[in-house]
């Protein structure tokens, strides 16, 4: 096994026990980037020299007995919406051609303090406003979409070109590409991870979180990210907690909600079969399955759009007037049309969110978590615009990919996506676990228990 193939947990242990040096690990990942990037295009910028310097410094620190914890000396990719001092934050957009971040974001600062080594900035759908990331190729099949908007981060982790990465999630942008590339993505509780220094798509829906190869790895990264920062007005003051899941697989006493509506409607049969098989595994591990009714489903898309569209347009107000031609066509027209939305629509979406949060809280009093597909279909072919369902209805690809993930953005509840199999063409299938606010530990425990019942996953073959 090459160092680039190691999970974060395995790499951390090898570094801690000095069986592997950060220099060897970072060189292995950089060499992997050199071989796979011509096909995958996960990165906007590769910071090779900076990474090698940081790796040597980490090696020296560890040799001198200054070990900073499990991220020390581990290579990471950051979605190119996340500021790192001295480097451009391109947002994968020509609008940011001359950008240079003056200071690091809170999350980049915390990861640097934990000793993680930046190997590069990963592609996003332009300004995170889309679900495919067209610049980047799926790590399992280069003719398929990467998913988005954190497509570069998910592909890098799946391909072995980052040991872990960060993404952002406004309607599903961590979990969608994680599911489509066979890796783990965690959208934490709204406000748990500070967003200071991260380019916004929609302030009241934006989250930052990890994309990793295993659930345990997601826990290790979350521990470094979580915690109050007054520079993000939504930042929670919840006390620090440990996230590393226990090693046991016993789920006795846990109530797992299985939706009887919405989450299995217009879902590919192979996706449904894989997710239900994973749910059955929870039952085999001792959990009790409880049917739940998802509330207010008729209003999910309307609420998501009513919040996101005007907030995104507001963020881009200045550049939409000065350099509109620099945006890609799909993003430009959404930003322009957002100018036409009345304040009444935005307020109705805000009030709908109040109702939806209350009703979800009631459901989550009856169960400890809810298990559901992350996305209703596996990765579609690049350029495909619609999905046709068995009943003959068609749905835009972006609408389909965001449909099952956006409720967690509206309500702010945490959602963990993890791989649960492949379809007959070999493309990965993802399941999401939705929990109570600040219920990350429960999701990580359940996800980790499930992973322990499965063989260890390999890197994506298209890499």
């Amino acid at each position: 096994m090459q160092p680039y193939e190691l999970t974060l947990g395995a790499a951390a242990e090898a570094v801690r026990t000095r069986r592997l040096s950060p220099v060897e690990l970072v060189d292995s990942v950089l060499e992997r980037i050199g071989r796979t990037e011509p096909r995958l295009h996960a990165y906007v910028t590769v910071t090779a020299e900076r990474a090698r310097r940081a790796a040597r410094a980490a090696e020296d620190d560890i040799a001198a007995g200054r070990h900073h914890g499990p991220l020390h000396g581990v290579p990471m990719g950051l979605k190119d919406l996340i500021d790192v001092a001295g480097i451009a934050t391109s947002a994968s957009s020509r609008v940011r051609a001359d950008h240079r971040a003056e200071a690091s974001s809170t999350v980049a600062g915390r990861l640097e303090a934990a000793g993680a080594v930046l190997v590069g900035k990963t592609h996003t759908h332009e300004f995170a406003y889309g679900l495919t990331t067209p610049q980047t190729r799926n790590a399992w099949h280069t003719g398929r979409v990467a998913g988005g908007s954190s497509g570069g981060s998910a592909v890098a982790v799946a391909a072995g070109t980052a040991t872990f990465a960060l993404g952002t999630d406004t309607g599903g942008s961590i979990r969608v590409p994680a599911a489509l590339n066979g890796v783990v993505g965690l959208k934490p509780t709204y406000g748990l991870v500070p967003r200071h220094g991260v380019t916004s798509l929609s302030w009241s829906l934006d989250h930052v979180g990890p994309i990793t190869r295993t659930v345990e790895d997601a826990a290790l990264v979350l521990a470094a990210l979580a915690g109050h920062d007054p520079r993000d007005p939504a930042s929670l003051t919840a006390p620090a907690t440990g996230y590393r899941p226990p090693t046991g697989t016993d789920l006795t006493g846990l109530r797992v909600g299985v939706p009887r509506n919405y989450y299995f409607d217009h879902v590919d049969p192979e996706v449904e079969t894989a997710v239900r098989a994973a749910v059955d595994e929870f039952e085999a591990l001792g959990a009790r399955l409880v049917e739940v009714e998802i509330p207010m489903t008729r209003y999910i898309q309307a609420t998501q759009w009513g919040l996101m569209v005007p907030e995104a347009t507001a963020y881009h107000e200045r550049t939409l007037r000065t350099v509109p031609e620099l945006y890609r066509g799909d993003v430009r027209v959404l930003l322009e049309a957002g100018e036409l939305m009345p304040a009444g629509d935005y307020l109705r979406a805000q009030r709908s969110r109040t109702l939806m949060r209350r009703e979800w809280a009631a459901v989550l009093r009856e169960v400890d978590l809810i298990a559901a597909p992350t996305v209703p279909a596996t990765a579609v072919e690049a350029g495909q615009e619609t999905i046709t369902w068995a009943d003959g209805t068609t749905e835009a690809v972006s609408d389909a990919y965001v449909r099952l993930s956006s409720p967690a953005n509206i309500t702010g509840v945490p959602s963990l996506s993890l791989p649960v199999g492949h379809d007959t063409t070999g493309l990965p299938i993802g399941m999401q676990l939705l929990g109570r606010p600040l219920g990350e530990r429960v999701l990580l425990r359940v996800g980790h228990a499930y992973e322990q019942t499965r063989p260890a996953r390999k890197l994506a073959p298209a890499a």
């Binding site: 009241s204 929670l236 957002g338 036409l340 979406a349 709908s352 969110r353 606010p437």
Partner: protein, 69 residues
């Protein structure tokens, strides 16, 4: 409001009122996207909000304090 609104000239007028002058070749595309957005968000008018306040700023954790299991 009928779903065929805004028409391209209306889209141009509304955008201009919002401070965004649109070139003529943008009117039709922006109108079509605005129509679609309107058709999506209009269903919120069915809800009776009564005294429900908007969640303009919110704390995700305030509903429950027993998240740990």
């Amino acid at each position: 409001m009928p779903s065929a609104e805004p028409t391209p000239p209306e889209a141009a007028r509304w955008a201009a009122r919002a401070g965004l002058p649109l070139p003529a070749d943008r009117h039709a595309a922006v109108a079509a996207t605005a129509q679609h957005i309107h058709s999506v968000v209009a269903v919120l008018r069915e809800l009776d909000f009564a005294d429900t306040p908007p969640a303009t700023a919110y704390r995700a954790e305030q509903e429950t304090h027993d998240a740990a299991v």
